[in-house]
Each structure stands twice: as C-alpha cells, then as structure tokens.
Subunit: 120 residues, 4 copies
DNA sequence: GTGGTCTAGACCACT
DNA sequence: GTGGTCTAGACCACG
C-alpha cells in the first residue's frame, strides 16, 4: 500500500497535485466518480482525515462536486478542465525556465540534457 | 526586509536551495564568505536559528566550511561545485520530463510552450 | 527529571551517543518505537527542540525512521545495527590505544590497571 | 600551522588535555618553559586569547607557574606530576571499561579487538 | 564580531 | 498524540 511522498511538502498538497494531473492527463474523465475517502486513503496509505482534506481542496477549486450519499465526482465541465490543463502546462514550463535561468544554465546545455534524458 | 517564501515548504529548505543556486550559477564563488548568520537572517527576514539550520545543512552537504569565530565560507573545492551543478541540472530536467509525462502533455505542445514562454 | 551531562559537550551529541549505545547493547531492539519527543524531553530534562535535534541526527544516520503522526522507530535493518556495533567497538578501542600511546603509558601498566579496575 | 580539533568540544579544553598528556608522557619535563602565548598560538593555529585561557587553566590546576617577564613554567614538583599520571591512567581505563560495559561488549571481543588493533 | 547550543512557547500536518 | 518548523531571546567559545 502506498506511494512515496516528498518528505518536505504536505501530503495533502501532493495528493491534490496528483489528482489534478490525472484529470489533465485524462486518466480520470469529467463526470467520473472518485474513490471513496476510505478507499482512497487505503490505496495511497494515508489517514482518512488527510484524504478528506484533499477532497475539500478539490471542491474549493471547483474541480469536483460532492453528491450526498453518492460520492465525489469530477466536474463534467470540460472547459474548466481544458483551461486547467493549459494553466498547468504554462506553470510547469514557466517554473522550469525560471529555474534554468536562476541556475545559470545555458539553453544549449539544457537542450542537450533534455535530449539525453530521453525526452524532446 | 525579506523575500517571499513558498508557503508549503520549510523556509530553511528553500534557503538551502537558493544558496545552492547561487553557487551553481556563479553568483557566489568558491572561497567566498557567506553573510554572517545574523546578517543573513536580517536580510531575508527570518530568525537566526533558521539560518543556523540552513548553514548546518550546507556544511553537511560539504558545500561550505565554517571557521570558528570567522564565518562560513564556500568550499574552495571547485570539483564539488561542478558536480553539484551537473546533478542539479539533471534533477531539474528529470523532474520536468517526469511531470510532462504524468500530465500527459505531448512533446510538441511542450516544445511550443517552451518557445512561446521565451526560452529555448 | 534528568541525567547528568558532560558540561563540555553539546547535550544533543551526548544523547545521540547514548541512544546509539542502547541500540548496540540491545537495550533497544530493531523496530522498537523510541519515546515521543515530548516524553523523552521530559525524561532527560531537556527542551523538546533538543530532542528533535537528536532524533533528526539519528534519522540522518539511518538508524531510525519516522512515521508521520506515529512516532520514531528504530530501523528494522539488523545489518545496519551490527555494522554500527563493530564500528563503535573499533572506535572505542582505537581511541583508547591512541590515548595510551600519547600519554606514554606502557602496555604492562595499562593491562594491570585494567585488571585492578575490575575488567578484563 | 595547526592541528585538528574535535569539532564538538571547546578548543581550550582539548589543548589543556594535550599539554597534560605531554607532561605525563615526559615530552615536557618539570621546570621546562612552555612556549610563549603567541608562539603557541601560532604553532597550533589558534587565537592568542584561546591560549591565554589554556595557560590560565593550567595554572589553576597548579601544573604551571608564571614568572613575570620570564614566561610560564611547568611546576618542578615531580610528585604532583606523578600523581596526575596515575590519575589520568585510572581515568582513562575507567572510562574505557565504562564504555565497554554500557555498549554491552564482552570481555573476549574487546580483548580480541585490542590485539587486532595493534596494542596489548 | 563569528558560529553553536539551548530554552520557552507557538503553530502546523498527520494519525 | 506524533514529529516538524519557526520565533524570540539567552549564553558560550572563539577571533
């Protein structure tokens, strides 16, 4: 049971990120039901309270809707998900470029490392 | 006084990263003296103990040496710094590619966003 | 409350040594839970932060593992503990022989004192 | 210039111990003149203030005498030195046996390690 | 002045 | 309740 978590960041934040990733990548589709709190807690090896918190965050971000007695569902609003996808992509790239700059890496060496490391 | 810190990660970790970045980017050179604990604490607007912790981490990473009563100095060992530079570059790229993959972004769109966003 | 501490060495170092000793001597077994930070602090009569520091050191030495919200546990890795035992033994003996030499004691007199003083 | 110092103990304590060792081992004889504060400071790579402190400690232990304008001299009292020698020997052995016990080492294994490690 | 250790007391994330 | 981080403020050894 379980995943590894970055030791230096709150678990619930990491779980929120992970689920966003699954939304964006299509692993979870609009309208899909999320696992129950207990199920998910068991699956990732975490306390149910923590998962409660995660689901709360997601709802505040309007990415999920809770239906009483039925569970938590991914918003059927495709546009919302698409726009999040673009947001995340931009964020990811920006953070990357930002780091590249502050570390003083040149474009050439970064490009080369990108190739070496199997992507792009 | 001060810098902004990521709210969701320990300040001292962020400071360590920051200094590592400055080492790697050449802003700080081998042999340089770091600001004194109290100075740095004032500069970034945190408690001296927090800075102490940061400097301790750096020393454990063998990136700095402290001389009693004189201060904390960046290791003159250039090789150590070079190797850290390569490590950080690889880490950065790997994390990026990793995220790209789990988010289900295609190479093309990422490349395009990289261009749009001003780099590479 | 409390133990006596060597006045000329940091408390946290002495506590780390002490726990290492307990590991090595078998007083604490692999997998055992250490007392909670607060408990231990109370027991030895020091501040919780000091104990935190001790536990952090132990974890960096990979002698313990901490489980969020549950506590700090001795590594179940018996080999790690065995090897530490041998290390400490060698260290102890080496330091002793080293001192004997620099003090200019002869083997005979040391052996005799060892016998007189109740051991070996 | 310089010696290595145990990072976790005051330098002046270590220097006092060292000189005691030299007295006991005969490297320094009763009546000998100690190096001047500045000389000694230079020799061991330490600030003169620290050496001042060391000499003060030695005088308080009545192991040295200061003659105005001439320097610091080892007490000519041979008995004092002999008794210190015995004290230190007993201390050394006792601390060793103490550690052996608290670490739970058996007499046999310690004896064997003593032989392996080149002494006794 | 420098770094290092310690205390008291607070707040957070997690079980 | 558990560990982890942070602050404020103190004292020490060293230069």
């Amino acid at each position: 049971m379980g995943i590894e978590f970055d030791k230096d960041r709150p678990i619930y934040v990491q779980l929120v990120e992970r689920i966003c990733g699954e939304l964006v990548s299509g692993v979870r589709q609009p309208g899909d039901k999320l696992p129950s709190v207990r199920e998910f807690a068991l699956e990732v090896g975490v306390n149910t309270n923590t998962v409660q918190n995660v689901y709360k965050q997601l709802e505040q971000m309007q990415l999920t809707e809770t239906k009483r007695g039925q569970g938590t569902f991914i918003t059927p609003d495709i546009l919302k998900i698409r726009s999040m996808r673009e947001d995340l992509k931009r964020q990811l790239v920006d953070r990357f470029l930002n780091n590249v700059e502050t570390m003083g890496f040149t474009q050439e060496e970064v490009l080369q490392t990108l190739k070496e490391r199997g992507g792009i």
